[in-house]
């Protein structure tokens, strides 16, 4: 059903300008990265800055290849990634359900509000010792730490979005005799979709924080473990490599959420 249209010359000019600008932005982005890597490589190669303290791009590549060949790269990445994904999924899911319950029950929302505020401002890392004692020094503790960090923000963001739905739309639904479940599925949920996706994006970052923090506390494996271990033995190559891999994994996860958002927007248009 797309209409074919002939555009005026001025419109073509406008489009060209728009495209040129976009290309320029992309080019600049790539050049900054390349410049940074080249500078890093050259400065460390001629020992203008110490390659021991700063590592270097070529050494990082070497380390990645080494880790990959020994199977450690996949092993550690998989552990951290699975902890992050599990924490992300459980916290987002349960957070959503709790937000729904608190939206549904005015009474519960008012009762629990101060508790949420306190839990939100508490630095979750402070609970580290308790978590280790309860869950042992393993993956369970890490996932729990991850959930703890993600879930409170999820509840607060989504609940806030649920309660900010236009009162007049709700009045309309009520005048039609809608019950609360209908109001939720027909109004609240579609109205909050954008905020829910935004929360997912925030949760990607938070769940990585949770998993790495958990690994700092207790782990014997994972990218957080590599970071701590590398730091302790002054192997900066390892530290930098783990950081790079983290960067890559986190952005992949972010793009997955962004893709999900695109699909959903298409579905709703």
């Amino acid at each position: 059903m797309k209409k074919m249209m002939k555009f005026s010359k001025s419109h073509y000019d406008y489009l060209r300008k728009y495209r040129t600008k976009k290309i320029l932005i992309n080019l600049t982005q790539i050049s900054i990265l390349v410049l940074f890597l080249v500078l890093w490589e050259v400065l460390t190669k001629y020992e203008i800055i110490s390659s021991f303290f700063f590592s270097s791009p070529s050494k990082i590549v070497d380390t990645i290849v080494q880790l990959f060949n020994s199977g450690e790269l996949i092993y550690h990445s998989r552990i951290t990634l699975s902890e992050t994904l599990i924490g992300f999924a459980i916290a987002t899911g349960i957070g959503f359900v709790i937000a729904f319950i608190l939206w549904y029950s005015d009474f519960l929302r008012k009762v629990l509000e101060p508790y949420l505020v306190v839990l939100n401002s508490l630095p979750k890392i402070a609970l580290g010792p308790i978590i280790i004692i309860w869950f042992g020094a393993g993956s369970k503790a890490i996932i729990f730490m991850c959930i703890l960090i993600v879930i409170i923000v999820t509840i607060m963001n989504i609940l806030n979005s649920f309660t900010s739905c236009d009162k007049q739309l709700i009045a309309l639904a009520k005048s039609l005799g809608a019950n609360k479940i209908q109001i939720f599925f027909k109004l609240i949920l579609p109205n909050s979709l954008k905020d829910i996706v935004a929360t997912l994006k925030i949760n990607v970052g938070l769940s990585w924080i949770g998993a790495i923090m958990g690994e700092y506390l207790v782990s014997k494996a994972g990218l957080g473990y590599l970071l701590i271990y590398g730091g302790q033995v002054f192997n900066l190559n390892l530290v930098m490599t783990a950081t790079v891999i983290l960067c890559i994994l986190a952005s992949l996860m972010y793009f997955a959420v962004a893709l999900f958002e695109k699909l959903m927007n298409k579905f709703y248009d």
């Binding site: 236009d166 007049q168 739309l169 009045a171 309309l172 639904a173 009520k174 005048s175 039609l176 005799g177 809608a178 209908q182 027909k186 109004l187 579609p190 109205n191 979709l193 709703y268």
Partner: protein, 259 residues
């Protein structure tokens, strides 16, 4: 006895809030006949909208009796169709799906009902807009969609709560004519709440004037226009001017009493 659609007797309403009790309506009595068009006017805050909410069953009276078709009103019945000042179209739905919104809530989204809703939409000039989203339509068009959404539930009684007041003057006059025509040709009964006296005069058979809070019935006027006159034509008559002066004076006196 089916001729009387709405019957209100000795109606009182007191609002409770933490700081005080507010008497909103006092001893309201009136009846509305089938296919009659009645307007309610009065100073702001006099309880006009409250009466509509009571008739729709969204509020409970403190004392007194309301019957719509001899039954106590309940929003679950399909007797009343409510139309608001704002069109309240859902921005993420197309016009067609917005029209079905009421049917979905009532669990009546079957083929026959959908076809009826679509036929209304087509009959009243929305045919080309069905696949569009609300933000692509003008205010007047959107309000028309809201009316079709309401009518698709086949209500006996339309409750119009200042449905034109958010529109610009030009659109308002046009839409008045349209809505009037639609309501007459679908043979519906309607209650219009408005603060625009001319709007009330031009559309209704009777006008109820309420006093300042607590709202009491101060006067009821019959307009007595011929039924084939459009609201626009009615506005221009001398009769409308005389009625306007009369009602204006009544409302003005109320305001002065308040001061």
């Amino acid at each position: 006895m089916n001729d009387i659609l709405v019957d209100i007797k000795n109606l009182n309403l007191i609002y409770q809030s933490i700081k005080s009790e507010t008497k909103a309506l006092e001893d309201i009595n009136f009846q509305i006949k089938n296919q009659e068009f009645v307007s309610i006017v009065g100073p702001s805050g006099c309880g006009k909208t409250t009466i509509l909410s009571l008739i729709a069953g969204l509020l409970k009276a403190t004392s007194g009796e309301i019957k719509v078709l001899n039954k106590t009103p309940n929003p679950k019945d399909d007797l009343c169709g409510y139309m608001f000042q704002r069109d309240n179209l859902l921005p993420w739905r197309t016009i067609e799906k917005n029209i079905y919104f009421g049917l979905e809530i009532k669990g009546q989204k079957n083929k026959e009902r959908k076809e009826y809703a679509l036929s209304l939409a087509k009959k009243y000039g929305l045919k080309d807009f069905l696949k569009k989203h609300p933000n692509e339509l003008s205010g007047g068009m959107r309000q028309r969609v809201a009316l079709i959404r309401t009518l698709s539930l086949r209500p006996e009684l339309l409750l119009l709560d200042e449905p034109f007041s958010a529109l610009d003057y030009q659109t308002r006059l046009e839409l008045c004519d349209h809505v009037f025509e639609i309501i007459k040709s679908e043979k519906k009964t309607a209650i219009l709440v408005t603060h625009d006296i001319y709007e009330a005069i031009s559309m209704s058979d009777r006008i109820i004037v309420l006093s300042a809070r607590p709202g009491k019935i101060k006067a009821i006027h019959k307009t007595g226009f011929k039924s084939d006159m459009s609201p626009f034509e009615r506005r221009k008559t001398d009769k409308a001017k005389i009625l306007f002066d009369q009602i204006w004076q009544e409302i003005q006196n109320e305001k002065n009493d308040e001061i």
